[in-house]
Amino acid sequence: MTAMVRAESVHKSFGLVEVLKGIDLEVKQGEVFCLIGPSGSGKSTFLRCINHLEKINAGRLYVDGELVGYRQKGDKLYELKDSEVALQRRDIGMVFQRFNLFPHMTAVENVMEAPVQVKGTSRAQARERARELLEKVGLADKAGSYPAQLSGGQQQRVAIARALAMDPKLMLFDEPTSALDPELVGDVLDVMRDLAESGMTMVVVTHEMGFAREVGDSLVFMDGGVVVESGDPREVLTNPQHERTQAFLSKVL
């Protein structure tokens, strides 16, 4: 098994504030990798570094064996051009906490947009595929609706379909259920569970401990910009070794 994501001593600062203080971890292919931790622990920032929405300041980050955002020649690093970064991002799907659907497009147009604009897929073909994906997330009847006409849960499922339309090899989820009403969380988690069963590699920043326990293959607890504890989710969640993990879990469980 090769590593889909490999982080080696990843550091990230915003101005003088160091948010990531050396993250080392490995996400295996086909794995559901959960990141938990208190807010401000750097877990979302780390996720955003994986597709280069944030630039890292030190360390190395690889996706599928390829350095993210840079090219190494000898011992020199060269920044990638915007177009090269875009090329890397094609294979990495991302789902945001606030959905970020394109409000001026219908659900099906949202899903079609990237294949048509980036891959040059024909509109007819992209539309057909988009309808399939919307059906997969249970929203076949909402294809013609604008995001404003959909509930949060429906919007998030469209967002998942939109990311899947690019046939990514890795999916990043940034607290996908945190902005949802409690009764809508289940639908989104069901879609994610199906996706996990289909063998997709997923990195999930979440507060849903139930999801992490049931679906997760690995779990990392982050606090203060470092990995505090990691391992099998069932193990870590039921029998945390570290004091900080215990304190955090006692508050959320």
Partner: protein, 313 residues
């Protein structure tokens, strides 16, 4: 807002007998409204009377000259120069706005300097600068591409177009910049995360959403432009004001011809206001669950309800 009561759908299901009786209260009387209406009507009547009975105004001249071919041609040129200058303004404005927001310090500084100059000096002065350009550059010499006498290049039309268009671009740049900045950053991130380039993100995602913010003030700018275009009088472009003034000064009907000009300006701005209403609706797509009906749709609904009521009675 008392008309709300009438808006119940005609075929409401019968209320169940346990529901409390609908409130039938006597509404608050707004006597202030009646009084103010009477006062306003009286003032308007006085004003109309003053103008209608003024002996020095030949109202017949207004009617005679309203559709005079010179006046119509002038109005046409006003419309033409306004539309063309606005196109120059919008296109250049979008480019300047993108330049100002660019990470490249050179382009951003160039855009800032442009806006600083063209927004910082009066349009009237800019028009005169273009008009008198031949005083300092008698020849326009673009090397092997183009060479001509400046006075041949700077026709009244060109002066008007450059003067109005380049000035407008500075204002449009600020409007577009505000529109671009109003689009949520998450939209750019989502687009980038999908692998879309900067250019595609801008064209497909950001600009269409910015339009909702940009269109209303742009309509305003165009209405302003229709009126500001009267300043090109100074560069001898024969637009509406110049056309009417010429007739006015030769036929001793100065005020009458100014009335004619005002009527045409009002017609143009009013027609455009209606057009703008529908344009804004088009760009509001997706921003709210459902758009309110247009006045025309409301008339149709009311007519249908009216005929149904008569049919039912």
């Amino acid at each position: 807002m008392t008309d709300k009561i009438d808006k119940e759908p005609a075929d409401t299901p019968p209320r169940d007998s346990h529901a409390p009786e609908t409130i039938k209260a006597i509404p608050v009387r707004h006597y202030g409204r009646y009084v103010s209406a009477v006062v306003v009507l009286a003032l308007v009547a006085l004003l109309v009377n003053a103008f209608a009975t003024a002996e020095k105004i030949q109202w017949s001249a207004v009617g005679d000259k309203l559709f005079d071919s010179t006046v119509l041609a002038g109005a046409g040129r006003t419309l033409l120069i306004s539309v063309l200058a606005m196109i120059v303004g919008v296109v250049l404005g979008v480019v300047l706005a993108v330049m100002r927001l660019s990470k490249n310090p050179v382009t951003s500084w160039v855009a800032w300097a442009y806006i600083w100059f063209f927004r910082g000096t009066p349009v009237y002065v800019q028009l005169l600068l273009w008009f008198n350009l031949a005083l300092i550059f008698p020849m326009l010499n673009l090397g092997p591409i183009y060479k001509d006498e400046m006075t041949d290049v700077m026709t009244p039309f060109m002066c008007a177009l450059l003067g109005l268009g380049l000035n407008e671009a500075a204002y449009m740049a600020e409007i577009c910049r505000a529109g671009l900045m109003a689009v949520d950053e998450g939209q750019t991130e989502a687009s980038h995360a999908l692998g879309m380039s900067h250019g595609k993100t801008l064209r497909r995602i950001v600009i269409p959403q910015a339009m909702r913010v940009i269109v209303p003030p742009t309509g305003n700018e165009f209405i302003n432009m229709l009126k500001t275009s009267s300043l090109v009088y100074a560069v001898t472009y024969n637009e509406l004001l110049r056309a009417t003034s010429t007739i006015g000064s030769t036929s001793y009907a100065v005020m009458e011809m100014l009335f004619v000009a005002s009527i045409w300006y009002l017609v143009m701005t009013s027609v455009f206001s209606v057009f703008q209403y529908y344009l804004e609706r088009r760009f509001a797509r997706g921003s709210s669950r459902s758009l309110p009906p247009t006045p025309w749709q409301r008339v149709k609904v009311n007519l249908m309800a009216f005929s149904r009521e008569r049919g039912g009675a």
